[in-house]
Subunit: 173 residues, 2 copies
């Protein structure tokens, strides 16, 4: 069982541009079934977790349809609109959320969808195992940071998938 | 003849930490002769250019010995300490520096050593051809930005070299 932060990023380390649009990302080619693609990631995942900004973005862009058929957690201190689906809101702490997710995932991996600070909170608690980044062929110059922490890692894998440079690291503890 | 920004970076897009130390970088393994290594880069390079912060860092860390035996430009508006070597100070504009470098390089490539804003200035002027990044296995969370611009690129190559995830992009114009 592994807890993984899997995300796309600009090549200069931003996971969203200042306007929270994703055209810089969705305009790129990627093979879902290719190396470090979504199929490889999601196959082993038993539960997902994300922050409130990511949640709101998903709800807005999926027209209120929840895209995950596995137990999902949203870390938030705010009241958020609900959707149909197995979505559980929690104010944390992440260690408790991680324990709940682990039980719900029944041996599956945990996917930290984003944002960077949520991944950072799991790392702070010593509960982040891997970081998977797909770098899009664009520099953004500003936006939401990929991983706002000082964190040591170990490179596991590098691949090209379509327009993306993909890398996978293990968190060093 | 190609103008290339070749640099190491943290995996979250910083080329220097806030204290301008490089332990996060120099502690990593890389094969100079390996894919996208220094040997491959420098073989075709006929002139280098960097900003004043990079220059000062090189001078300090090389004990005043200039490490390049090819014509070198430093973009600066300040008075800087000189070193023994072919180092030319210029207040720009980059188009003029690029023209001088191209002549001096005699058919060789131009290497933009850093920092990110110098590379950005060459891109702004339409004079940057490629970006080569070696991502170290560490997140820094803050520091000097890799490439503080919105810039479209096209992925050319991905490789692993030691502890580094390396990628090479062509600037889209």
């Amino acid at each position: 069982m592994s807890t993984r932060y899997y995300t796309a990023s600009s090549l200069d380390g931003f996971i969203a541009d200042p306007e929270a649009t994703l055209a810089w990302l969705t305009s790129r080619a990627i093979d879902t079934d290719g190396p470090m693609g979504y199929t490889e990631l999601i196959a082993g995942v038993g539960a997902v977790v994300m922050g409130s900004t990511t949640y709101e973005w998903v709800v807005e862009h999926e027209d209120g349809r929840w895209p995950y058929d596995i137990p999902s957690w949203v870390l938030t201190h705010r009241e958020l609109p609900t959707v149909e689906g197995d979505v559980r809101f929690s104010a944390g702490p992440v260690a408790q959320v991680h324990a709940e997710m682990t039980e719900a995932a029944a041996g599956g991996d945990l996917w930290v969808v984003g944002g960077g600070d949520v991944a950072g909170q799991f790392a702070d608690a010593g509960l982040l195992d891997e970081v998977w980044v797909s770098y899009a062929p664009v520099a953004l110059g500003s936006g939401a940071p990929l991983l706002p922490r000082h964190l040591e890692l170990h490179l596991l894998e590098v691949a090209r998938n379509g327009d993306f440079a993909c890398a996978r690291w293990e968190v060093v503890r």
